[in-house]
């Protein structure tokens, strides 16, 4: 926390003005929103602007819609798509197709067109399950190429003559009061505005929900996401479907407005154009997408009007994309944020000047700025004090959270691995190892470098499948279960190389861990149902409580990527606690910590076990730490179980000492057969 310096202000030197009338902030915001809404809806009629501007606004909405679909898919879920133009095209051509073949007009054809593009997108999404990153980029590129060459050349889809047409009609019955003539571009503007708002509404609802966090988790770290119980496959396909739906909606509305469409409008170059818009907007921001849509439409208009600039629009668009990528990856959204902050400082400075306490508030504003940019490192704690008081309520917190796991807690053992064998090609990394962890124990797994303990750990965690052997968790056979299913059984874990979600705050990282505790689905999130709101509130309360218990409130709203390493280790542990998992696996938790931090970690583990009854299994290289914290240890060497026992036994075990330090030369000579 930042302390404000004490200042003495000579109020007599500042002229006193009458105080501004007090309008409550909420009422003020509501009034401004309504005013803005009225303006946005009515300006084509009320403002004396040429119709061409309205057409530009229509284009801006179209661009924004496709950009929103990219924000969802690429920005939030991290699935790069160079094929967005193809989804838009499917929406357009299917609209014309159902009209041509089955006489279904707008708006009845809307759900069909949207469903078709969603379906096509999901098919592409299936490819995304196997390939990632730049290879997905190429896969979507190839798809876009194929769509242009094959799909949109098929006469059954596009219609004879290579172009599809759709008579522009009306909504509602003509000649009655309530009919809208879509030939009037101003009316069409309202239609497409409605479409954009629908898309924005749905997307922003999703973003602030369990579904949105699952999306961010998939992008942030698939490994961590599955350990939190998130079914990555499902969410990827969902994202493709939603993105395809929004893009298809844009295509549907596009052909309704234009009256016709040709395949060339939806080729790879168009997809590239849409990607540019999304990236310039900042790729993860909805408001950025809208802003970028407006920007590009405005540029289009300007470059069209001004003869000297004719034909340069594509160059400018490409340059914008490159510049944002290389120099300014935050895009319009980031610059919007900075601008917003500056405006806020100016606004509060102005406000206070008018009411007479200028000095303090201006200082306040600039200190806030400073603490956000400059000295933030200094104010972050380098160690974290554990405060676990009021054991009762925290125990309740854990127990209340996972009723389906609670009754299994009575079962012993928590984990039983029998006869695990893991082979990679010709190499046997783990050779017939069995281990058991009982409820309430802290068990350690140690061994020299390359001994196979990480492989064993991953086999238990579900990251690789054992060649033979079984893994039972809380009595259930988990051997073939994918990681997210094991999480549902009650297993949490941390990672050696921290797998937090870097662009999210500590709070949001922990909130993502409430995934399994929240039974609501994406449809409920889309419409913000009562139940969804209730569950969201409960999730936030839970995270807040755990943050307070572990003393993380100072860093709760800071982005994870700036924090010191020791804090990150605690955050990962907190994340496992949030899931309510009664059994937590720790992968080298002391790695990278100095002596003091290691000690604090050991204390924390003991406290969590003693007060909350959480069971731990940890791999560690720091054997001293392990012996101080565990009840039982397993030692692996060369893929086999070398020894097991209490820490004291292990420390004095000759075989273990030999495994770590090597045998004295005399002994080697004996073994070699002198």
């Amino acid at each position: 926390m930042v302390r404000l310096p004490q200042l003495s202000i000579r109020r007599t030197s500042v002229p006193r003005l009458p105080a501004l009338p007090q309008i409550g902030p909420r009422a003020r915001r509501l009034a401004i929103s309504l005013l803005a809404l009225a303006l946005i809806v009515s300006w084509p009629w009320t403002l004396p602007l040429p119709l061409a501007i309205v057409t530009d606004a229509v284009h801006a909405c179209e661009y924004a819609m496709v950009a929103v679909s990219l924000v969802l898919l690429t920005g939030w879920v991290g699935q790069i798509s160079l094929a967005q133009g193809a989804f838009v095209g499917v929406g357009a051509f299917v609209t014309a197709l159902v009209f041509r073949k089955a006489n279904i007009p707008f708006p009845a054809s809307l759900p069909i067109a949207v469903a078709a593009s969603a379906l096509v997108a999901v098919l592409l999404g299936i490819v995304a399950l196997r390939v990632r990153g730049l290879y997905l980029a190429v896969a979507t590129l190839i798809f876009a190429w194929m769509a242009d060459a094959f799909l949109f050349s098929a006469s059954w889809l596009v219609g004879a003559g290579g172009s599809a047409s759709l008579p522009t009609g009306t909504i509602g019955k003509t000649n009655t009061f309530v009919s809208f003539d879509l030939h009037d571009v101003r009316v069409f503007y309202l239609v497409i505005l409605a479409g954009l708002c629908l898309g924005l509404f749905g997307a922003s609802n999703l973003r602030d929900s369990k579904t949105g966090r699952a999306f961010f988790a998939v992008r942030g770290s698939e490994m961590a996401a599955v350990s939190l119980g998130i079914d990555v496959t499902r969410y990827k396909l969902l994202a493709f479907g939603l993105s395809g739906a929004i893009a298809g909606l844009a295509g549907h509305l596009q052909i309704v407005g234009d009256g016709s469409a040709v395949p060339a409008q939806f080729n790879f170059l168009t997809s590239l154009f849409y990607l540019s818009i999304a990236v310039v907007g900042g790729l993860t921001s909805l408001s950025g997408a809208v802003a970028a849509g407006i920007l590009f439409s405005a540029l289009n208009e300007v470059f069209f009007r001004v003869t000297a600039l004719n034909g340069y629009i594509d160059i400018v668009a490409a340059m914008l994309l490159l510049t944002v990528l290389i120099v300014y990856p935050g895009g319009l959204a980031a610059s919007g944020q900075t601008l917003g902050r500056r405006l806020q400082t100016i606004a509060s400075a102005l406000r206070s000047r008018l009411s007479g306490s200028a000095a303090v508030e201006a200082l306040d504003g600039s200190i806030v700025q400073l603490s956000e940019h400059g000295s933030s490192r200094a104010s972050a704690p380098s160690t974290v004090e554990t405060v676990v008081g009021e054991q009762g309520s925290l125990l309740e917190l854990i127990a209340r959270a996972r009723p389906e796991v609670e009754d299994r807690l009575e079962l012993e053992p928590v984990l039983e691995a029998r006869g695990i064998i893991v082979r990679f090609g010709g190499l046997t990394a783990v050779n017939d190892v069995s281990l058991m962890v009982r409820r309430g124990e802290i068990v350690g797994l140690i061994g020299p470098n390359g001994a196979g303990k990480t492989t064993l750990f991953n086999a238990i965690a579900g990251l690789n499948e054992p060649t033979a052997g079984s893994v039972h968790i809380f009595g259930k056979d988990a051997t073939a279960l994918p990681v997210h299913a094991r999480a549902a059984l009650g297993v949490g874990r941390t990672f050696q190389l921290i797998q937090l979600f870097p662009q999210l705050s500590v709070f949001d990282n922990l909130l993502a861990a409430t995934h399994l505790l929240n039974p609501t689905g994406f449809l409920q999130h889309l419409v913000v149902s009562e139940r969804a709101l209730y569950e969201e509130k409960a999730a936030r309360e839970r995270v807040t409580e755990i943050i307070d218990r572990l003393g993380l409130h100072d860093v709760a709203h800071r982005t994870v990527s700036g924090l010191p390493f020791g804090v990150l280790r605690i955050v990962e542990l907190a994340r496992a606690l949030v899931t309510g998992a009664p059994f937590v696996m720790l992968d080298e938790p002391a790695s990278g910590l100095d002596d003091a931090e290691t000690q604090k970690l050991a204390d924390l583990l003991l406290t969590l076990r003693n007060d909350l009854g959480i069971t731990f299994l940890l791999i560690e290289h720091d054997v001293a730490m392990v012996t101080s914290v565990t009840d039982y240890m397993y030692v692996i060497n060369r893929g086999q179980l070398l020894a097991e026992g209490t820490p004291g036994d292990i420390q004095r075990n000759e075989d273990v000492i030999a495994a770590y330090l090597g045998q004295p030369a005399g002994q080697v000579a004996e073994e070699v057969g002198a």
Binding site: R132, G133, M146, D314, A317, A318, L325, I498
Partner: protein, 297 residues
């Protein structure tokens, strides 16, 4: 005319395309091996040289113009690596690839602006002639493509086998870290790879333009199947890229004549896409980008 005679003719006629794709695919592979980046700007880097040659030809003659174009391609490759791909290395592999997409858009837009969107007559190196192959005609541009592609490919393999630069590039591609430990500067070998990739792209682009016309949108997009060719070869194998070029070239050349399904517009593209997806699905493990999260570092 028997099926086999038909087939034979089709194969010969498809060879120029195979040659073109081979030149492109080799460039894609050498760049990928060095940078682990798929240069999605390759089509544009291939096309701009054709325009450069077009503009230079009236002043310095056809062959010097072609050479100038090819050199421009090489320069372009080095520039893209230096100013876009290298800058984005600290972000992620994916960002680098998106960067090349952006470069693609930029170059295409520039070409359209400077030379217009009409179809131009490209530079030809040899007098226009036609040769009979069965009942069809093989034009001289096609023949040149086959010959040049063959020679260039041989040169490519010779470079890597017999020169110390080739050795350095192979070492850096096999294990970048170890190469540095041996004294090889990986940034130099990477620049060399992009230079060679650009030169080959330019060569293929100039010659392909000769065969199919000069257009800022059509020509770059026509090059896309080369990515499929490289994919078929596994992305990091030059030999595989050649095989892939054969498959892709034959597919595009021959499929249209294979009965009613083949006659569908875009049938070869659909078939190749299916093939590419199947390959990606089967060899899934290979196509996990390295920036798939391994930690905050």
């Amino acid at each position: 005319m028997s099926f086999f005679q038909d087939a034979f003719v089709n194969v010969i006629l498809a060879l120029p395309l195979v040659g073109a794709y081979a030149l492109f695919a080799l460039g894609i592979v050498v760049i990928y091996r060095a940078s682990r980046v798929l240069n999605l700007a390759h089509g544009a880097i291939a096309t701009l040289p054709a325009y450069v040659a077009y503009s230079l030809a009236p002043h310095i003659g056809s062959i010097p113009a072609v050479v100038g174009g090819v050199l421009a391609g090489g320069l372009l490759g080095v520039a893209v690596e230096r100013f876009v791909v290298r800058r984005l290395r600290s972000v992620s592999q994916t960002a680098q690839t998106v960067g090349t997409v952006a470069v693609f858009g930029l170059i295409v837009a520039l070409m359209a602006k400077i030379w217009g969107t009409g179809l131009l007559r490209p530079v030809t190196v040899v007098p226009h002639a036609a040769y009979h192959v069965g009942h069809a005609l093989l034009f001289s541009d096609g023949l040149i493509l086959i010959v040049v592609a063959g020679v260039a490919t041989a040169g490519f393999f010779a470079l890597f086998r017999f020169t110390s630069l080739g050795l350095a590039m192979r070492l850096a591609a096999d294990n970048r870290r170890a190469a540095a430990l041996m004294g090889i500067d990986p940034e130099r070998t990477t620049a060399a790879a992009w230079l060679i990739g650009g030169l080959f792209a330019g060569l293929g682009g100039v010659l392909l333009a000769g065969a199919s016309g000069l257009h800022p949108y059509i020509l770059p997009l026509q090059m896309l199947p080369a990515f499929v060719a490289a994919l078929i070869g596994g992305l990091d194998s030059a030999g595989g890229a050649l095989l892939g070029s054969l498959v892709v070239g034959m597919a595009i050349g021959i499929v249209p004549s294979l009965g009613s399904i083949g006659h569908q517009v875009g049938a070869p593209q659909a078939a190749l896409t299916l093939l590419a997806f199947v390959i990606m699905a089967l060899r899934g493990k290979r196509f996990q980008a390295s920036d798939v999260r391994t930690g905050l570092a």
